[in-house]
């Protein structure tokens, strides 16, 4: 890290603490490569590393009042990045210990429509359309999808993070999937047609 960068980042953070959003945006954009370098030392999967970088950004945001502009910015940022990476690794390994990998999803119901995982993959393959469909969902359902599917939280974690009960999350998730299937039905049919051909 160059001395000039360090001073500039320190200055931007001091401005951000005073409520300057533009200085804050410049700072976060500037430090992301550095954060990726810190995180990637311990997390080898690039996609997961990017998740951790986002966690670190959230932590920096939450704790920005703890930065003292009289001190160098690098150690402050580095401490938060390293600690959050270690937290993520601990959580990841704990979860990995409790998971069992299976080649195929077991059939849970007799009805064919209930075992539609493959169809879902096909139907939700178009990311742009999926994003648009997600935007059209009511906020409660969208939050459930974000927590349970995009952030891959367990129901308990999602409930703790959002303050919504597990039962309500299940209902919201169920309704969201139903809405998404209905919303993207034309795409799914088109995919099915392609597969059949």
């Amino acid at each position: 890290m160059r001395q000039d960068d360090e001073q500039l980042w320190s200055q931007w953070m001091a401005q951000a603490q005073d409520g300057d959003g533009e200085a804050y945006r410049r700072l976060l954009v500037a430090i992301v490569p550095r954060l990726r370098a810190i995180v990637c030392k311990r997390v080898s999967d690039p996609d997961r590393a990017e998740d951790v970088v986002q966690e670190v950004l959230l932590s920096i945001h939450k704790n920005r009042h703890t930065y003292d502009p009289n001190l160098p910015f690098g150690p402050w940022m580095g401490t938060i990045a390293q600690r959050r990476t270690m937290d993520w690794l601990r959580k990841h390994y704990r979860r990995a210990d409790q998971e069992v990998l299976v080649d195929e999803y077991p059939e849970t119901f007799l009805a064919h429509e209930a075992n539609a995982a493959e169809q879902d993959v096909l139907a939700f393959d178009d990311l742009d359309q999926l994003r648009q469909a997600l935007d059209r969902l009511p906020s409660g359902q969208r939050q459930a999808v974000e927590l349970l599917k995009l952030k891959e939280m367990s129901l308990k974690e999602a409930s703790e993070a959002s303050g919504i009960s597990i039962a309500a999350l299940k209902v919201a998730m169920h309704r969201a999937l139903k809405s998404l299937r209905a919303d993207m039905a034309p795409t799914a049919q088109a995919h099915e047609g392609e597969v059949e051909q």
Partner: protein, 221 residues
Amino acid sequence: MTRSGKNLTESLIADLACDLPPVKRLAHPAKRLVKWLVIALPVSLALGALVEQQHLALAMERIVDPRILFELAAILLTALSAGYAALCCVQPGRSLRAWMLPIAPFVFWLSLVGENCWRLFEQVGPEQFSFAPHWTCFPSVAATGFAPALVMVVLLKRGAVLTPTLTVALGTLAAAALGAVGLRLYHPPDATALLMLWQLIATVTFLGVAGLGARLWSKRA
């Protein structure tokens, strides 16, 4: 790395920077330590005096005893150094070596407690010497330990708790030591080691409960 992952990071940055409210900077740990001392010590001494009213004369005698003053200085130094180290822990970027500060005064305090126990053992003999809990001590322990622990929890929660175990350990030691100042002044002298043990247990319990409550509170907020 997928493009969507990078896009999410970019949109997260845009969200975080949008409508950014100003924040109140965390003061230097030394300033926060003074705040802790100024608020917690008088409350601890006042509550201790309230509970131990019958022993106030004893406190007056003790305060002029050089040996007790020496011991009080060691206790206070432990409280201050542990408190400073705990407050440094919640401000990222400060030296992590601060945790070593309370070691010397704490060891010194323990050695004085050990000497007191040995003297007592010699006086009363093995039959009378006991580490069994005395429930009558509990109100004094709670009264003197309450304010230092509560104020410490509030101060620690204002910072970034990135190393919870170390922070709680240092905060507990600081709160227990500051509470022990009042305890050493007012409480009858026979059981310094036992009282310190009680003090630590009570403070750990209180810090744990307060920390859990704060965690639940922040999750609901």
